[in-house]
Amino acid sequence: MTRLARPLDRDAVQAADDEIYARHAGDPRPNALYDADGNRQPLSADDPSQAGLRREWVELYRANLDDEDEDPDDPGSIDDPVQPCPNAGCGSLVVRVIEQSSGEPVEGADVRISGPSDAQAVTDAEGLVTFECIPAGFYDLEAARAGFTGATGLGTADVPESTTSQAELVLRSQAVIEIVEDHDNDHAVDAGAPVLTTVRFGLWDHAFDPGPPVALKNAAAEADNFVGADSRRFYFRVRDPAATDTEVEIEWKARKASGADETHTPATKTLTLVENPAGSKVFVSKAVMLVTDQDDLDQATDSGFPIPRINAGQRNRGQSDHRLRFAELTGRVRGEYAADGATIAVELPVFRLGSEPRRRVPLQIFVMRVAAGGAPVTPTGAGAGIWTRDMRVLRETYARIGMAVDTVVAPGTPAADIKTQGRDSVVEIDPPAGVNPANISFADETTIGTAHPALADTIRVFFVAGLASGNGGETWSDAIAPVGNARRGTVFTIFGTGPYAATHEVGHALTDKRGTVPTDGHFRAPAATPRLTNDQNLMKREFLGAEGVLGAKRLWDENDADGFNQFDAARTSHYTRPF
């Protein structure tokens, strides 16, 4: 008889999970393990159609059990002498009870089995209960606990002779955690606030006081706070009939697509939710926001709580009630609330559903050599700035508006010319005969564009050492390069111009703002909306400057002085693709 160590080995559970999802990653979707978007779905504990998958999971779990994981003091260890059931024809059953939203164990749940024999036991801190040496056969299972609904706490288990079967029952906490929006923009969220199904990154579109000098709005009042007023802010809401205080705490964080916590997840993830209105048992947070870069993440946020509270005033990254989290475009945001008996959770994808789905921007990136066969004008080796700065800034900037940046290489490109780091590739190219890479003329740009044609609807980015025009970079957007022009959709950029240079030029190709002197395709701050400051916009015409929270890196979903919406323009560009 094989017996499982108890409690369930977490590493083996994780490994079994990873393997079963990997095995079925290529199956047509949606299926029992993946939804249509490729998001993992938990296995049902009682759906008969998933019985085969459950068996497969148990086999994987067993295969991943490591002897070193066994507790020698645990009488259930497989290293121990087998303890036979007193009667032939018996088996054992391990039942795990989890909370529906979080998958976390439910402690103190009353589990009853009925079949060849009836029994009852209470789950431990791991949500586990074991029925040993029960007559083999088919059992009905039921779990219940005060504060949880029992409708889903039902299941069945087949307990063959001389084996240990496993079953999982799901309970749903009566407490609820949700992510909601301030639909009427009154900065007061309550039980009526609509629930969100996806979250987006902060646009920092109500963040700046135009000054001079320009300043970040970071006051206690939500309307005067860059998070509290952002058009992409969201809130956590908990409904807990069992709560006894006027405040509750949750933990919130972002996760990668793999399900792992984001690299920048702080150790302290606490966020305070205050009951609103009093006595309602409905608790809401201050506004929170997702960011895409470390400068933004490092920005302190005013908690909105008054002195002398310990969490009053400015809260830094890593402290409780810091209102920013770093996330990726493929990631998710998660909130967890420790209700009585189990942790419940809400988890939403970033930019995945609704009217603003994610988009992709493929870029063909070329780095010109100083001369034929020579070294590139800017290094392309491991850790070079083109990877750690330009590609990073490109990704961070366009992620804010739901767009993923990819690098692509034309078929037939000699392998020796392709330089790769991680998922990105650039192509080193020789300057055409007579072309000075430090003084590229408009005619040179035609020559270069002709020599390196575009893949369909793809922006070409050429890193060169200098431009004859004196520009820090220049782009032949559709507006100025008609169909058939070899330069159409080309970006010429100089590494030394600065961190936002390449991203700005790609922005010209994407937004394709048609303007004449003096607007010239650039952003023009609207006088009627002074918070949309010129200096913080990626598409400003002036010097772009250094990286930072106040840096020229924002793209806004509002009209500029020319009535032009750069957010919409970029996302609908023919240079983008569905995700």
């Binding site: 003084n439 004449t516 010239d520």
Partner: protein
């Protein structure tokens, strides 16, 4: 008659005033246009299309005025402006503009020296090679790169140039302030 005489003088005066006023207005408009063009030429970024077409929205007179101004006030030129002046130059202005470029080959600002060299190239200056040769002792990476790049096609005809480049390669090798020049010399075989 009296009346007529008065009317004639008044008409003459009005006509004179109108002419003067018109000239003044024309002067002011002309200056305003030149100022707008200058603002374009000194902007951080200018549409490549506008520049390639020679700023078609501006009159030839405004272009002349801008170039004339900087020919007479060469100290007011910036590197960006120096790079862009050739795009508005008309044929009669090219000699003066070349002189302006030449005067900046010895500027203290390396960016001006670089732009002056490329400006001469853009203006098809017949003494470009001499200007480039004169910059082979320059201590700025980009200026040196530009000079060598311009002279490279003459390497086969001037063996002495090869010796100069070898000496430069020795001078700039492993010097962190030189980035482009060593790469170029290396690709030319001066390791």
């Amino acid at each position: 008659m009296i009346g007529t005489g008065i009317s004639a003088r008044a008409a003459l005066a009005v006509a004179l005033l109108l002419t003067i006023g018109s000239n003044l207005m024309a002067d002011e408009e002309r200056r305003a246009e030149a100022r707008m063009l200058l603002a374009e030429l000194t902007a951080e970024n200018v549409s490549p299309s506008e520049m390639e077409q020679g700023f078609p929205g501006f009159s030839a007179r405004a272009r002349d005025d801008v170039i004339a101004h900087f020919v007479h006030h060469p100290q007011a030129v910036t590197p960006k402006l120096l790079a862009r002046l050739p795009y508005i130059a008309t044929e009669p202005q090219r000699p003066a503009l070349r002189d302006l470029m030449r005067s900046h080959l010895v500027s203290e600002d390396p960016r001006l020296r670089e732009r002056a060299l490329y400006g001469l190239q853009a203006l098809d200056d017949p003494r470009l090679a001499q200007a480039a040769a004169g910059l082979l002792d320059d201590t700025d990476d980009r200026v040196l790169f530009g000079a060598i790049h311009i002279l490279t096609p003459q390497l086969d005809r001037h063996p002495a140039l090869g010796e100069r480049l070898r000496a430069i390669a020795d001078r700039v090798r492993d010097q962190p302030e030189y980035e482009l020049t060593p790469k170029l010399l290396q690709s030319l075989g001066y390791r």
